[in-house]
Symmetry: C2
Subunit: 427 residues, 2 copies
C-alpha cells in the first residue's frame, strides 16, 4: 500500500463526463489498496470566465489593489471542481471529502495572485486517509496569515500537488495532463522525438524553464527540494487500463542519480522563439557596467535571460542580452533614453527575429566535448551562432529564428535522441 | 450617519452591468455618510448551474451523504459574486473587502443544505467599517463547528442579511429585489392592489407563509426576534435616484406597534392553491384521535396546514385538514391503509381542487366582526366556505379553487384595500 497524490489539470476536469472518469480512475487506485489524495484544477475555461467578469468590471486589473478580491474570485473555480469530484467519487460508492486551501490549511504568504506556500498542515488529511477516505484538496490556492484567500498564480495546481505530496510524505505524485510525458523535444518539430521514461529533476527544471510547458517550473523546484518522485502521464488513457501499466507510464521525474542516468549525455532539446536580442555597443570596459545596464532594465520590471559580455578591445566592449519579445521595444527605448547617454556607449542594436535552442542533459557534467559537438553540428548545417550560454547541464545558443527547426532536428539526430525504445530512456 | 445593510438578490447581481449598478448605488449610500455592509446572492442562474453539474454526476442528490459537498459547491456562487462586487466597488474608487461566511465567521449548525445560523462574529466587520471600507459578506452560507462550509437553503441570503444586520446592530436592513415592495395582494389577480408603506413583521410573517414570496420566512422571523427594521424595495430604480427618496421607498417591515398601525384592520389578502383537503369521516370522538391521525401523517414527513375537527354527533366526528397538493395521494393512501382500519373510521374523502384565501391584519386583534364581515362578503358572492381557520391576526378560508380570484377581489374591495394612496399604508 502506497500513499499517492494525483493531480488533474483543467482539461481532465473539463466536463462532468471527464470528472466521472477521474473519479473512476481514482477509485481504481484506492481499491488497489492505495491511500489517495487528489488535487484538481478548475474545470477548463472556468478561471478565464471568472477573470473575464472581473475585467468587465475593472479596466486595469493589474492594479495590486484588486489582488485580494481577484484571488477570492479565482479560488472558487477549484473549490467547485473539488466538490464535484467528491460528489462523483461518492456516486462511485467511495468515501470522499474535499477541502479548500483554507481548510487544510495550506498556508502562504500574502502575495496575492502569486503567493508562495509556507506550510501545509497534514493532520486533518491524515485522519481522513486513515479512515479510508479519498481526500480532495483544491489546487492553486491557500490562506495567508490573516485569513485571506490567496492563489499561487497560473499553473499553481502543479505546485499545490507537489507541496501536498511533500507535506504528507507521499510515495509518488502523479501529474495527469493532456500530454503523455516529457519528450526529447517537441514532436511537432521533430517527428522522431520520443518520450523519456525517466528524467532528473534538474534536467526537467532546464526544460521547464525553456518553455516545455508540461509542468509549472515551481512545482519541479519543489519536487527537487523535498525529493518528491513526480510522474507526468496522460489523463486520456481509458480509466480502466491495468493499474501496473498506468503506474509505469509517462515520465518519472526523479531526484535519484543512479548509474544508468550517468550514462546519458543529452536528454532533450529545448527551444523557443519568445525572446529578442539586444546589444549595447562600444561600452567603456570599466567595473559596474553590467549592473548599470541591467539595473536599469530590472528597475523597469523586465526579465533578462541570456547575458553575454564580449572581450574588451581598446577599452571598449559590447554587452548583449535577451529579453522577452513583448519587452523588446520598451527595453530599446529605455536603453537609448537613459543608459546610452549616461555610459557614453556607441549604440544600441537589437533583433527580435531570433530563437534559443538548448541541449539539456545531466550527463554533460561528466562528459567533455558535448558543447563542441553541438557547435560542430550547427556549423555543418551552415547555421551561424549569435550567442552562447552554458550551465552545468545545459548549453544554449541564440540563432536566427529561421534556423530553429533545422537546428533542433539536427541536434536531435546528432545526440542519438532519434534512437529506438531501448535508448529512449535515460534510465 | 447610520449603519446600513443592503441585500441584493440574484437578479440584481445577474450580469456585470447590474453588478456595476449595485456598486454605484452602494457607493452613493457610503458617500452620503453611511457605514455600509452588503450581502449579495449568487449571480442569477449560477446556483442552478452548479447544482445541475452535481446532478449529472450523482443521480440521487437527496442522499444526505452528498450534503457536505453540495454545500461546498453551492457556496462558491456567492463567493464569486461577492468578490466581483468588491472589484466593482474598487473600480468606483471605494475601499471594499469581501468575506465568505467562514471568514466572518457566520457560525451555523451542521445541517448541510438547510443549516441554521448560531452566531456571527462582528469584530472584523466593525474594524473594516471603522476604517471606511464597504464590507461585503456572502449570503446563503456559513461554517459549522468543525470547519465545514454550510448553506442555509434556498433564499437563505435574506436570512444572512437580517442576521448580519442583527449582529452588527444595523439601523436598517434593505432587501433590494425585483418587486418594489409588499402589496395588499397579488396585483396580477387584483389590478387595484397597492403597495404597503409599512407592515408589521407579524403580518409579514403571515403573508410570507401564505406564499407571498417576497421574503424568505426565516428572515422575517429573524427580523422580528432581533427587532431589525427591514425594508423591501426595488433594485430596478436607477442607481442615482435621490437617496432620501430611495430610503423611504418600498415597504418597511417594522416591529414597532404605533398608534397609527392599530387603526388598520386588514392589511392584505393572501392566497394560494398549493393545498389539498382531506377529511376522515365518522371517527369515534375519543381522546387522542387528532394525534393518532396527524401522528401517522407527520411520521410520513408530510406537513399539515389547516386542521378542523367538527362537532361530535352520536359519538362520531369528522376530522379535516389540508396538506400540500404534492402530498395528496400519498396521504390518502396512508390514511386508508393504516389509520381508517385502526380507528374504525367510516371513510376518507378528499379534494385537491381547493384554494386557501386569508385576510391578514394586526388590527384584527382589537376589532370585532372582521371575520364575519369576511364570511358575509363571500356569501354575497355566492361562494361556499369549506373550512375556516383563524389566528390572532389572520382568518383563512378554504374554498373551491374556481372561486379564488373572485374571492380575493371581493375581499380586497370590502376591506377598503382598493382605496387611494392615503389609505394604502397602514402607517
Amino acid at each position: 500500500m502506497a500513499l499517492i497524490v494525483h493531480k488533474y489539470g483543467g482539461t481532465s476536469m473539463g466536463s462532468t463526463e471527464r470528472i466521472r472518469n477521474v473519479a473512476k480512475r481514482v477509485a481504481k487506485w484506492h481499491r488497489a489498496g492505495h491511500q489517495m489524495v487528489v488535487v484538481p484544477s478548475a474545470m477548463s475555461g472556468e478561471t478565464n470566465r471568472l477573470l473575464g467578469l472581473a475585467k468587465e468590471l475593472a479596466p486595469s486589473l493589474q492594479n495590486a489593489a484588486y489582488g485580494r478580491e481577484l484571488d477570492a474570485l479565482a479560488a472558487t473555480g477549484e473549490q467547485a471542481s473539488s466538490a464535484l469530484l467528491a460528489i462523483a467519487l461518492q456516486a462511485e460508492g467511495m468515501q470522499a471529502v474535499s477541502y479548500a486551501g483554507w481548510q487544510v490549511p495550506i498556508k502562504t504568504n500574502s502575495a496575492y495572485t502569486k503567493a508562495r506556500i509556507e506550510s501545509i498542515e497534514d493532520q486533518r488529511v491524515r485522519a481522513d486517509l486513515d479512515a479510508g477516505k479519498v481526500v480532495i484538496i483544491t489546487g492553486f490556492q491557500g490562506i495567508d496569515g490573516t485569513g485571506n484567500v490567496t492563489t499561487l498564480g497560473r499553473g499553481g495546481s502543479d505546485t499545490s500537488a507537489v507541496a501536498v505530496a511533500a507535506a504528507i510524505k507521499a510515495d509518488e505524485c502523479l501529474i495527469y495532463t493532456d500530454v503523455d510525458g516529457v519528450y526529447t523535444t517537441d514532436p511537432r518539430v521533430v517527428p522522431e522525438a520520443r518520450r523519456l521514461h525517466r528524467v532528473s529533476f534538474e534536467e526537467m527544471l532546464e526544460m521547464a524553464s525553456m518553455g516545455s510547458k508540461v509542468l509549472q517550473i515551481r512545482s519541479v523546484e519543489f519536487a527537487g527540494k523535498y525529493k518528491v518522485p513526480l510522474r507526468v502521464l496522460s489523463s486520456f488513457t481509458p480509466w480502466d487500463i491495468d493499474l501496473a501499466e498506468e503506474a509505469s507510464s509517462g515520465t518519472l521525474i526523479t531526484f535519484e542519480e543512479n548509474e544508468q542516468m550517468e550514462q546519458a549525455v543529452v536528454s532533450g532539446i529545448a527551444f523557443n522563439r519568445d525572446e529578442a536580442k539586444i546589444s549595447v555597443l562600444g561600452v567603456p570596459d570599466t567595473p559596474g557596467i553590467a549592473s548599470q545596464i541591467l539595473g536599469a532594465v530590472a528597475d523597469a520590471n523586465i526579465e533578462v535571460d541570456v547575458i553575454i559580455q564580449n572581450l574588451s578591445k581598446d577599452g571598449k566592449t559590447d554587452f548583449s542580452f535577451t529579453v522577452h519579445r513583448n519587452d523588446y521595444s520598451k527595453t530599446i527605448d529605455l536603453l537609448k533614453g537613459q543608459v546610452v547617454p549616461k555610459l557614453g556607449a556607441a549604440d544600441v542594436v537589437g533583433d527580435a527575429r531570433i530563437c534559443k535552442v538548448s541541449i539539456v542533459g545531466i550527463g554533460m557534467r561528466s562528459h567533455v566535448g558535448v558543447a563542441s559537438k553541438m557547435f560542430r553540428c550547427l556549423a555543418e548545417e551552415g547555421i551561424n551562432i549569435q550567442m552562447i550560454s552554458t550551465s552545468e547541464i545545459k548549453t544554449s545558443v541564440v540563432l536566427d529564428e529561421k534556423y530553429m527547426e533545422l537546428a533542433v532536428r539536427a541536434l536531435h539526430r546528432v545526440f542519438d535522441l532519434d534512437k529506438d525504445e531501448e535508448a529512449d530512456s535515460i534510465a
